[in-house]
Symmetry: C3
Subunit: 217 residues, 3 copies
């Protein structure tokens, strides 16, 4: 199934670029130096998988056995830094609006594929029957990097306050578990990714929010 691996790899790369960019952009807005920008980019792109591997007892974690994702995250972060360094006016205005829209799409793809890859990793390590663990590792692979990004930047994690984000990942994880019983891993992987991406677009478009006590601001 060569196509399957290629498509997975492309989706993971789009996700890595989107996640690294969101980390790097957060760091730029906190006026970190280029080292901080790179670290926040890498942490956002690979942190979810790192937590997953620690919980599953996979050492050294996958990001060190196949460093292509970490390197892609570093390159992405540095490029973003130098572009913004040269063109500071791009931090706002029409360019930023277009950039944010592209990144929203990449980010949705990343959230979808990372959630699916997270569960797939747990299944391959023999945890197919532990539903709670599967949902957890799928979701943490998707959203863990963003949580670490916000904690390191001193922010309340985005996923706790804004829009339907982690819930899209949880829904995808549950859909994966449902699909793998009847249709196998490959269908589950792409079906779950597609659902997450769909939910994220709907949530962003219709500004879905979960209820909270004092209302949304």
């Amino acid at each position: 199934m060569d196509y399957q691996h290629l498509i997975t790899f492309i989706m993971e790369m789009l996700g890595t670029i989107a996640f690294a960019s969101s980390g790097a952009m957060t760091a730029v807005e906190k006026n970190m130096d280029i080292f901080g920008v790179s670290v926040l980019g890498v942490v956002t792109a690979t942190g979810g998988g790192l937590i997953r591997d620690l919980v599953l007892g996979i050492t050294p974690p996958g990001m060190f056995r196949d460093p292509v994702y970490a390197l892609a995250a570093i390159v992405t972060s540095c490029c973003l830094f130098w572009i913004l360094y040269a063109k500071k006016e791009w931090l706002s205005g029409a360019f930023r609006t277009t950039y944010d829209k592209i990144m929203l799409a990449f980010d949705a793809v990343g959230l979808g594929i990372f959630t699916a890859v997270g569960i797939s990793t747990a299944v391959q390590n023999g945890y197919r029957d532990n539903l709670f663990l599967l949902v957890f590792v799928g979701t943490i692979t998707g959203v863990g990097g963003g949580i670490l990004r916000d904690v390191l930047a001193g922010e309340t994690p985005y996923i706790f306050v804004k829009h339907v984000y982690a819930c899209a990942s949880i829904a995808g994880a549950l859909f994966y578990i449902l699909l793998q019983e009847g249709f196998g891993q490959v269908t589950a992987m792409f079906g779950a990714s597609a659902l997450v991406i769909l939910l994220r677009f709907l949530a962003a478009h219709y500004k879905w929010n979960l209820p909270r006590l004092k209302g949304s601001d």
Copy 2:
């Protein structure tokens, strides 16, 4: 020893409810949505055990092998959220005062039993003779969830600034190690729990504080 397991389970459940409630309440006060409220509830209730299991190399961590505690934490957090959503006035006033008193009691029970269960887990995994490790895992099982809660909420961890909290846990851990030599695990477990609960009530009642440079505020 059926009674022993039942009592341990009831104490752990009281602790889970108290810890989840404190996480959920912190999230409500930060105006997080119901997802954030649930996550902070679960993290506070199970985070200490999670860190303990990562340090001891127990994978997947216990919270995934026996998810009843995580589920209890989620249910507790959601109930608290919906009650406060329906009755916002309960966030302050006489209801809150009574609630805080009950939670103080539950929390003390939880701190005691979690400390004892933490050491017991390490002993069962063959680390009986490593005193420093035993004290660490006992204390981190008791207070680790609260530290993660405060970091995720962007607060200075409570246990570093207010009242005698972690010290009660450390005292209980040391008492456990002392008791297990002469009286076995069961006595050590309940003796240590009882000491922690006693110390917490005394500390709360007499407003014990550890010294700091600029005085308590």
Copy 3:
């Protein structure tokens, strides 16, 4: 090679004292109590090695198998606390200036030796050929404690915003990997430490900073 172990031990102790002091000082400035001061001291001194060991799958982590460093960090933190408790005026003025200079030297020694020990640990555990992992564990052993210190204190991690710090550690890690091919572990260890120390002194003296978008403040 008795001398080698002795020198390594002395360098690690100087680093432990410097790292613990920086954690304890941060805690004092946040008005934490003596427990918080001790915890932040220990976390800063041993946190880097703890993350390294979790990533490498070494459980329980080294800080529990040889608690002398954790104990040295606790003693250092408590001494600093009581000295400042007795002599609050030492928090500023000429004493503080001298103290900061000594600590800068100790800290550079610690950063150097911790980076080298981190890589050496990974090599001993069979990861000699994974360059990315070696650089990561060397750097995280050097700077991880400081990151945890700042996260727990609610600060943006120092290493993301100020002076050339982590980069000195990364340069040392790369130098170690280069040296170990031709000259063996011992030379690599001391050569890499020396380079880190040199870079830190140069960076502090000439106020080297990495570029950032909005300039240094």
